[in-house]
Amino acid sequence: MRKFFVVLLGLVLLAGVFAVPQQVKLVIWADDTRAPVVREVGADFQAKTGIAVEVVEIAFADLRGQFITAAPTGQGPDILIGAHDWTGELAANGLLEPFDPTLGGKAGDFNPVGLEGFSYGGNLYGMPYGTENIALLYNKDLVPTPPKTWCELLEIARALTDPAAGRYGYIVQNPDPYHWFPMLSAAGGYIFGKNPDGSLNYCDIGLANEGAIYGATVFDKMIEEGLLPAGVNWDTMTGLWTSGNAGMVISGPWLLGMTRTAGINYGVAPIPDMCCCICACVYDLPCPPIPPIPQIPPIPPIWPPKPFAGVQGFMVSAFSANKTLAFDFLLNYVATKDTMLALYRRDPRPPAYLPALNDPEVQGNPNIAAFGEQAQLAIPMPNIPQMGSVWSAWSDAQDLIANQQAEPAVALQEAVAKIKEALGCPLP
């Protein structure tokens, strides 16, 4: 036993070689979707500059947490690929390096929604490369023409839904406020209002205003009527959809790959408009008032749903020792039409880089066009750290409504009160 100790300690000490200085290299953390493209660009960068680019693949779900742990110790990457809604948390923690707001003169080539998504506290913290939003996907074998209004959607759903046969006309993930938001936003619900300077005012929460309650009530009635199964998560949703047992779903471009593999004859259309007068006939709901300052003026009584816009992009660590190299790599090697198209081919979502978006290859893709039509109405998902408490209380409210345990108004008002308390906002 003693011998074991001695040998062990000796080995420990002898191997205690002090680290040798290393060649400069750029380290990039990316998930496996983006990694191959970035690796190729990295090879090009190395050929031109002699600087090696090391791409470390990390599961997308773990990227943010691991970055937060590793970055302050100097073990993090120089560049990180992630979603715009991480910006607030990472920047508030002092982990991100701001970009030159002109993006080296290329800012005009980027979708403004993408740039807004990565802005926080007056700084730009990311270079966007792709945007995404949800729309209505329909199975053409079951739904030949997509509904234009929510009223038509209800009629189609009534005709198709047969729980005994496991078939539904319309399904959506729930509780999942991300997919629920279009229903609430249509008639005027919103998450955070804005301060005069354009930044988000997290104490102005529009999730329990009349417009939001209206949308939530329609959702409630659909469940009550049996048109919408409660407790559908991603896995059950895809199970129904890919087996051809769902007529319509609200989802994003990420569902398309699976849809094609399953051989579903599908189409993409904008999410149907909420139309209070027709729906009022259906569910006897009073019409909500027209929102005072709507972001997109609706033509009453039609309320177009506004989904969230999500943005994916590249961020630079505040603890990088090679920031100039990192920015050079991003602005001159990634922000090019070729690279942006390569990223698009790997994962088809609308490029945030306009020269790539306007390329015939992208424009010719009918799905991109359809999702793009919906994107006109999309609102960037708030990127401030306060969103954490919103998601939690909000999905609880949706759960209560879906389980028929609370009236929509009660559930939403309780959620807003909970959010305000958590955020330290003045309560009425």
Binding site: G10, G88, E89, D235, N322, T324, S389, A411, A422
Partner: protein, 516 residues
Amino acid sequence: MIWTALLSTGLKIVLLGILDAISVWAAVSLGTSGSYSFLAGLVIGVIIINYLALSTKAYPFRYLFPGLVFLGAMVVYPIGYTVYISLTNLQTGNFLTKAQVIAQLDGRYYLPPDYESFRFWAYRNDQGALRVILIAGDGRAFISEGDRLKSVDLDEPQFERSPGGIVERFDGYRRISGPELYQNLSLLERLNLQYGDYTVRLANLNEFRSYRKQYQYFPGEDKLVDIQTGKVYYSKEGYFTAEDGTRIEPGFRVNIGLRNFISVLTSPTIRKDFTRVFTWTILWSLFTVLFSFAVGLGFAMLLNDPYIRARFLYRSLLIIPYTMPAFISALVWAGMFNTDLGVINRILGNLFGLKINWLNDPFWAKVTLIFINVWLTYPYMMIVSLGALQSIPVELFEAARVDGARGWQQFWKITMPLLLVSVAPLLIGSFAFTFNNFTIIWLVTAGRPAVLGAATPAGATDILISWTYRLAFEGAQGNQLGLASAVSIIIFIIIAAISAVNFRFTKALEEVSQGV
């Protein structure tokens, strides 16, 4: 005999001597490299080893020491770290240390409207020192000297210029370009060249620009001054804060004493939900352990029976739940229990016309969770029981049979007490593990269904640890790690108290085994 004893003592002393010699050498090198925490660890470690090896009184600890080293490093140290964090305000916005934040703010520059931009050439001498020559838009030339920037006339003779006018060499410095320039960029970007009120810095690959420094930190008064506006910020509660309350982001972590504990223990909203969550947590752990042990032991008894054929096959099939990643099986179960679409309701509907609201009803959601967790846990109990059953001497059963005890009587009088000698601590451990088993709750219900009127985000199936997670990570402005640590310490105190009570029974069990 004497010879071997002498030899072993001699060998011991020689080995210890070698160990101590190596340690002294290592201590010196650690000390000179300034890593005092490791130095302390090494010294303490070596002293303990010497003591253990030489003292006969410490003999039992020679057996314990190897395990304790690992336990200390990987279990006790993280506990200490959690205690430390619980005393800080570590959260989103107060994440870095103060030194890191000062370094970051002190290095913050802004581009004034009248900024100038410069082309640059970079130079290196044989000692590896770097210098740059900057050319302004109007042709004025500057050269770096230390951290200053000075005007220079490039027509002076020491500058060797190429036909294109580029300065190639001067004073032993040689121009670097191409890959060599790239290799030195990270050094160039650290240059802060003072020129009047401006700081000239590398802006990108092609140019330097004249920036202005934004903040100046004064360590003596622990204050930060905005050079542009003259506004003074004092370090207060983890932020540099001005008189009027404006704060500079990012903030930093500071020690806030017991404030996290106080805010948890005195929060009226937390107190309101505590009893409900705590009760369910206890029931969840208790039923999981009880049922999984019952099922596991049952199978172990059946499969320990030499008269059951094919028991090797059976055992292998029955441990399958243990061999699959819980991540996938928990989600598969959750899918099967889906009220509208799950296969379980489909079977129940076809057979009995039943439709149970498995995961959306508070009661059934709890039942489902325990059912799934028993499935995940019983193979562990089965393997453990299988091993423990081997410790029961057969003669006892034969004696019991002579006394007329049979079947159940044998089981309760002999099997169970003897089995518990080794298994009881594992049951206590399993209880504690289930108590803190965040993963399963999160995968199957995520704490849902929601409860109307809950003061905090506490769903019907949230256990203490998942509730903590929601409080700390979804309850406010981002992540509150300090608060989460405080709550985990409180949870630890609760579970430790429960376990310590249970622990008293193990003394009785030890005596059972003495009687064997």
